[in-house]
Symmetry: C2
Subunit: 224 residues, 2 copies
Amino acid sequence: MHRAAVKKVVLEGVLDANDALAQANRTRFDAAGTYVIIMMSSPGAGKTAILERTLDRMRGKLRLGVLEGDVQTTLDADRLARFHVPLVQVNTDPGFGGECHLDANMVRSGLAELPLDDIDVLIIENVGNLVCPAEFRVGEDTRVMVYSVTEGEEKPLKYPLMFRSADLVLVNKLDLLEHLDFDLEQFLANLDAVNPGVERILMSARTGQGADEWCSWLEQRKTR
Amino acid sequence: MHRAAVKKVVLEGVLDANDALAQANRTRFDAAGTYVIIMMSSPGAGKTAILERTLDRMRGKLRLGVLEGDVQTTLDADRLARFHVPLVQVNTDPGFGGECHLDANMVRSGLAELPLDDIDVLIIENVGNLVCPAEFRVGEDTRVMVYSVTEGEEKPLKYPLMFRSADLVLVNKLDLLEHLDFDLEQFLANLDAVNPGVERILMSARTGQGADEWCSWLEQRKTR
């Protein structure tokens, strides 16, 4: 169909432009010696709650910075302001009715507000979405996906690109497991089916379960 | 920026084409006397679980049909097959790395498999996503949003277009409320802030709470 063909070509052009800008971001991160993690998940899986716990525990151990992406509001940045780390909120709403993901240019615009030279590890929190964020590289070193056990076992099969592109999966809200009909073994088998052997940490941002393992993983990034 | 401007024009073209196809779907629904509901939510909010309960309860009362949208797999259609209602699964993965929403043309392709004349109410389950599905009309009469209380109170403010476009919000997973730090009153206030007075039903697909109210709402659609 002609409409679909036109659309595909244009979007490929968008991805090419994105990759060039991602490379420019990458050059800036390398120059500053900043390791960059992008966090992706569904809405409400617990990215910001994990960041709160992380910033609290890593105080004095690792110089963290945060770039928050949301369609609208500065609510997430407001939640994290009390930790006094370099922090910027990027809103995607000037786009097409609100872009559903961060792209390299949006990240670039946020970097102007961050003192990269003083940041060991920058965590970029993407818009909550299991599809499009996986398509857009922003210059990151690694991709961390947050998955909530409330979302069901089958999502790796239904959204394979996202799960396949993750380097680490934080399986969150483990404290709710006893109240759900969620088969953790089946979820991990589905995860391995699309991304065999991918690193995973079972955690609960609420209770602190898994936070040691996650923070230790994070500290090891500094030396990379 | 030039790139953004080009993108916007092209996407507006896509939306124009979508609206024309949505109108064509609408004409078919009207000719068949089928009332059409589109269901939207984040991944894992419980759309399919609500459909399971609905199809079970409405057996013999209302001739329901279902069009399932997912990036990949027929898992949702497989889950619903036991109810023996007209059912079709549309996968969006032939698109740009997996489209993150159903559009009018995808729905049109699914309609070929459905006996519309024998369906009083057709429920279309969109891809799990809080952004893009709100942009694409598919010819529906009404929009029902499913929201899980595990997703946090602030999402109406962060994803306002989706919440504003809903005609009814099913607030799901109420059975988990006692295990969460979720302020239901605050959520409802945030919902009213972006969509004042929108109809809402508090429910749990798991326990059946709210199912009477939802099924009664659904039965009333038949006579519209």
